[in-house]
């Protein structure tokens, strides 16, 4: 039902790639349809900083933000101050991937509704692989070897800025994803398991981190330790990397007009670990939540509905290769044609590994910080992986005390 | 237009007492000068009268009214400061108008008239639109005086108003202040200075202060010719009076002083003294003259000759006391260091002091 008066809403979202531009377009449609106007509140690119701000605002009972775009992992921590969408979304819930819906349900309360989901890909340079006659690597070892070879050869050929592999190595939430992928792909578990047990201190995890450590300064630039998504994409898109680990959003951007790698790259699932490990992708994705302090909750819910609708998700997939949470869209021919990556990604999504936010509840952030710190320190060569993981376990245990 | 009366006025800063019971009666229209060594309390006393400091003890009356707890404004005083204290951001005119504007009783025309009048008297009419910084020191001081005049004060206070001026200007402004006093003959003026010349030339009466006490009050000539005690005697006059320890004895009507090793000197005017007391003989350098015939009251070797052109200062070791006897002889005399000379003192200008340092005045 159309509200009698048009409301002025605000939505908070982080800005990576073209997110904001795209959002603007969709919002103008929304305004056309409903008469509500929506302001965009831009957030820092680092999702860690973003989370800090959200938390702060909710604590401050900030009525100026109506809708938050939330990371998949934040649901448990922000649940207390978000509106329960169960009822409002009752008729929509069925369309969406159950695992995603599940991740946004805290104690039976649906705190956020999915906007898109996310799972990373290995970006590779088709032209370079071809030039050196290499196959798309299936394991991290292969990746390392191929990257090294091409990098060396390219550098010798005068392309001194060429790097083998770029990923997210800065100490922030993104590194938790990368690290988790490495560890999980080696069969090293998910830091904390579903039951809240701390599982990270194991040999496979150590092996995974040791391997990654070997990349820094060899196939990856030393500066990778300060890279987030956009820094990695920067190197990649200027044509200075053979491989990149990143989210699908980089796909259309890489094919943009200004891109040096336009038409010269493709994507594949992330490589697997050694010894029967398998490819592991960290489950990402963003959701929409309505603030408990919003003065226009109805309109806000309307906005959530609009942005999570099939139509919006499709547009998003077409424009920025954001992965839909509505299963049927993966078969959409239009999408498959415009953004092949989306169509290809449904299997990856199905097997993607969630971060342990549900198990660690309100403390997830600190758990994640401890983990990324450990990974970052290991990558930068301070302590061995085994020692650092040992430390990490102790820290996590201190955090946990008697329970999460 | 007002008399000022101080009765046992005391002032202490914290535990330190700086004025010890000052009694003083100033008549309407008098020009009173406070002098004394640095730190003796001159400024403090003036500021008590102004109302800028609180009185610790005693009473201060202006025009017969006790004003101890009145603010400066209520006392009807005006003050001129050593540093002029003009408001730097106001023109000369505004400086003079400021106090009058605050005083609601004065109308606009009246104000204008008073300022013009003051400016005329002080010949600063041409500068009325200037800022103080565009004036010379002397002009600034005149403006400061003008600002005080416009308020038509009953009591006019000056705290070393000339000490920031150079020598020539000081003389000129001093003469102007003397003229002002004559024009405003019924305004009581109280003036602090450390300059003897100013004190001597301006004052009707001088108040000599020392360590927070009044040493003597009197006309300039009085202080010069009949100092009440050793302090005043040495303080007034430059170079200072020569003081020699002496035995004082009656000599008929008069008195004689016998300085050790010298012939006794008998004073010109009669003095009544007890027999055989110890005390001091004082003689001003300018009251000594060179004896041509080699006989005189004081004989000794010249230790230093200072020729100032107009006068010559002779420092003579007469074998009494630590310090040499100083003589001031007009013109340039042909005396050189190490010459043996004899000096004669004017009998009318000898001063006697008893053992306590109090003067033995002519009977």
């Amino acid at each position: 039902a159309q509200p009698a008066l048009s409301a002025e809403l605000s939505i908070a979202l982080g800005s990576i790639g073209q997110d904001v531009a795209e959002m603007r377009q969709q919002l103008s449609k929304f305004t056309e349809e409903t008469g509500h106007t929506v302001n965009i509140v831009e957030m820092p690119a680092s999702s860690t900083d973003q989370f800090g701000q959200y938390r702060l605002w909710l604590a401050a009972q900030n009525a100026d933000i109506d809708v938050y775009r939330t990371d998949v992992i934040w649901a448990p921590q922000l649940a207390a101050n978000l509106v329960d969408l169960t009822e409002a979304m009752a008729d929509r819930v069925g369309e969406h991937l159950p695992s995603v819906i599940q991740s946004q349900t805290v104690d039976g309360k649906l705190v956020a509704f999915p906007m898109y989901t996310d799972a990373p890909a290995l970006y590779y340079r088709t032209d370079l692989l071809e030039k050196y006659g290499k196959a798309v690597p299936q394991t991290w070892e292969e990746l390392q070897a191929t990257a090294q070879e091409i990098q060396d050869a390219e550098r010798k050929a005068g392309n001194s800025q060429m790097n083998g592999f770029v990923f997210q190595g800065a100490p922030y939430e993104g590194l938790t994803c990368d690290g988790l992928e490495w560890v999980a792909s080696h069969g090293g578990g998910t830091i904390v398991d579903e039951n809240g047990e701390i599982t990270i201190n194991n040999e496979k995890a150590a092996a995974a981190l040791d391997q990654a450590k070997g990349w820094v300064g060899t196939i990856a630039p030393a500066g990778v330790l300060s890279y987030k998504e956009e820094e990695a994409r920067g190197v990649w898109q200027t044509g200075n990397a053979v491989f990149m680990r990143n989210w699908p959003y980089a796909y259309p951007l890489g094919n943009g007009e200004d891109s040096a790698v336009k038409g010269k790259f493709d994507v594949a699932p992330l490589p697997a670990g050694a010894d029967g490990g398998q490819s592991a992708a960290c489950l990402g994705g963003w959701n929409l939540a309505v603030s408990q302090f919003s003065e226009n909750q109805d309109a806000a819910i309307e906005l959530v509905k609009f942005l999570s609708s099939e139509q919006s998700q499709k547009e998003r997939a077409l424009m920025t290769a954001r992965l839909p949470t509505i299963a049927s869209l993966y078969d959409d021919p239009e999408i498959a044609k415009a953004q092949p990556i989306v169509a290809e990604w449904d299997t990856v999504i199905e097997t993607a590994i969630p971060r342990p936010s549900a198990a660690t509840k309100g403390q997830y952030n600190e758990v994640s910080k401890e983990f990324w710190t450990t990974v970052n320190e290991t990558l930068s060569g301070r302590g061995t992986a085994a020692d650092n993981l040992d430390q990490l376990e102790k820290r996590l245990r201190r955090l946990k005390r008697s329970g999460w | 237009m007002a008399s000022v009366k101080l009765t046992k006025v005391e002032k202490a800063f914290g535990a330190v007492k700086v004025l010890h019971g000052i009694d003083l009666q100033i008549e309407e229209g008098e020009f009173i000068v406070f002098v004394g060594p640095s730190g003796c309390g001159k400024s403090t006393l003036l500021r008590l009268i102004a109302g800028l400091e609180d009185i610790t003890g005693g009473t201060l009356e202006i025009d017969g009214r006790t004003v101890n707890d009145k603010s400066p404004k209520e006392r009807g005083i005006a003050m001129v400061f050593q540093s002029y204290a003009l408001y730097p951001h106001m023109t000369v005119y505004e400086n003079m108008a400021f106090g009058l504007k605050l005083d609601k009783g004065t109308g606009k025309d009246e104000r204008e008239a008073r300022i013009r009048e003051a400016a005329r008297i002080l010949q600063i009419e041409d500068y009325l639109d200037r800022l103080p910084k565009a004036l010379s020191g002397g002009q600034r001081q005149r403006v400061a005086i003008g600002r005080a005049i416009t308020r038509k004060p009953k009591v006019f206070l000056f705290d070393e108003p000339l000490s920031n001026l150079d020598a020539a200007l000081r003389v000129q402004t001093r003469i102007e202040i003397a003229g002002l006093h004559e024009k405003m003959s019924d305004t009581t003026m109280i003036y602090v200075t450390h300059d003897q010349v100013e004190a001597m030339t301006l004052a009707d009466r001088i108040v000599v202060l020392n360590k927070g006490r009044v040493e003597q009050v009197g006309s300039p000539i009085d202080l010069y010719e009949r100092p009440d005690n050793l302090f005043v005697a040495r303080f007034i006059g430059s170079p200072a009076m020569n003081i020699l320890p002496a035995r004082i004895e009656p000599d008929g009507e008069r008195a004689s002083a016998r300085v050790e090793g010298l012939a006794p000197l008998t004073l010109a005017a009669p003095r009544r003294v007890a027999a055989g007391g110890t005390g001091y003989l004082g003689v001003r350098p300018e009251d000594l003259s060179l004896s041509q015939d080699g006989t005189g009251d004081f004989r000794g070797k010249v230790s230093l000759v200072e020729r100032l052109g107009e006068v010559t200062l002779l420092y003579v070791d007469i074998g009494v006391g630590e310090e040499p006897l100083v003589a001031k002889i007009p013109g340039s005399v042909p005396v050189r260091r190490d010459d043996e000379i004899a000096l004669t003192a004017r009998r009318e200008a000898l001063h006697l002091f008893d053992a306590q340092g109090d003067a033995v005045h002519p009977a």
């Binding site: 938390r55 100490p171 330790l225 300060s226 930068s380 | 609180d54 009145k70």
Partner: protein
């Protein structure tokens, strides 16, 4: 206007005996009344904006306040600082700020950063000040130029330097490689060996001018005739510097150093922007902010803030003692 270029806060202690005259005049009464009238608004604002929040912060450090539920905070004593948790199986562990090695790491980082950056700034500031104190053509231009870093907002300078220190496109690497000091690009802000130095570098750049100005003020207060006397005495300039200049400007340097140190101890924004989440550069303020607003540990963050406050308060008191500030004023 009186002399504006006087140096640092007035020294020389002047404890004034309180004046208690027998009769207080209307003037004194009026002035006293006005004094309090004039002061009250300022005192109120300060109490509201500094006093009360400080008390609040200290209070929260003794509660279990959480950001999501500040109002439900309950008193838990010193457990945020010091707590023994018995796991029940005969084992137990100490918790609280005093046993948090990450806190001590932050403390260490802060101290390290403070000592190093302030030392460099002092030496460099002294050199700058000496140069600026010399007479030469174009001195006023240099003097103006030196103020530029100081005027640039910290955030902006952090961004500028982040760009200059960018590992791929940064000009710093390019320069150093051109000169041959390094052979491959250094990731200044990411590398654990260089992260802190990156922060220090930016800080030195930004605050050396301030230091130089304070020392310059000290230098200018040294009476010029002393140098002339030394010249007449034929003393070598180097000796004059060590034996005359330095002892005479020591108070100015001391004041500058302590001010800078107090400022450095509370550093936040530079690190937040330049090296976010980096354990190598995490300082006390960053640690506190992180716990307050990013982790759900409002009370714990308050405890860290309180601790930092105490450290700075102690140094402030020390400073006031050393500089023997004239707090008595000079008025009537």
């Amino acid at each position: 206007m009186s002399n504006l270029s006087m140096g640092a806060p007035p020294t020389e202690k002047a404890i004034e005996a309180q004046e208690r005259p027998a009769t207080r005049s209307n003037l004194s009464r009026e002035r006293l009344r006005s004094a309090w009238l004039f002061l009250t608004p300022m005192i109120l604002v300060l109490a509201l904006v500094a006093g009360w929040p400080l008390i609040q912060t200290i209070y929260y450090s003794f509660t279990d306040a959480s950001l999501t539920d500040i109002d439900g905070a309950e008193w838990i004593g010193i457990r945020n600082y010091w707590e023994y948790v018995d796991y029940g199986d005969g084992e137990g562990e100490y918790f609280g700020l005093f046993f948090d090695d990450q806190w001590w790491n932050a403390v260490w980082n802060t101290v390290y950063y403070t000592v190093i950056s302030v030392s460099i700034e002092t030496v460099l500031g002294l050199v700058f000040a000496l140069v600026l104190n010399a007479e030469f053509r174009g001195r006023s231009i240099v003097r103006a130029a030196v103020l530029i870093p100081w005027a640039i907002p910290t955030i902006v300078s952090a961004k500028m330097w982040a760009w200059m220190m960018n590992d791929q496109f940064g000009i710093l690497n390019d320069m150093l490689m051109t000169v041959g000091l390094i052979s491959s690009p250094v990731a200044w802000t990411a590398n654990p060996e260089t992260a802190m130095w990156a922060v220090i570098m930016v800080d030195v750049w930004k605050t050396t001018p301030f230091m130089a100005l304070l020392i310059l003020a000290g230098l200018q207060m040294v009476p010029g005739d002393v140098y002339e006397a030394a010249k007449i005495d034929g003393i070598h300039p180097v000796k004059v510097f060590w034996k005359v200049t330095l002892p005479l400007i020591r108070p100015a340097i001391l004041v500058a150093v302590i001010f800078r140190a107090l400022d450095a101890l509370r550093i936040f924004d530079l690190i937040y922007v330049l090296t976010p989440n980096n354990t190598d550069t995490k300082t006390m303020s960053v640690f506190a902010q992180e716990n307050l607003f990013q982790f759900d540990k409002f009370a714990y963050g308050s405890a860290a803030s309180t601790f930092l406050f105490l450290v700075i308060a102690m140094i402030t008191l020390l400073y006031i003692k050393i500089a023997r500030l004239d707090l008595g004023g000079r008025g009537r």
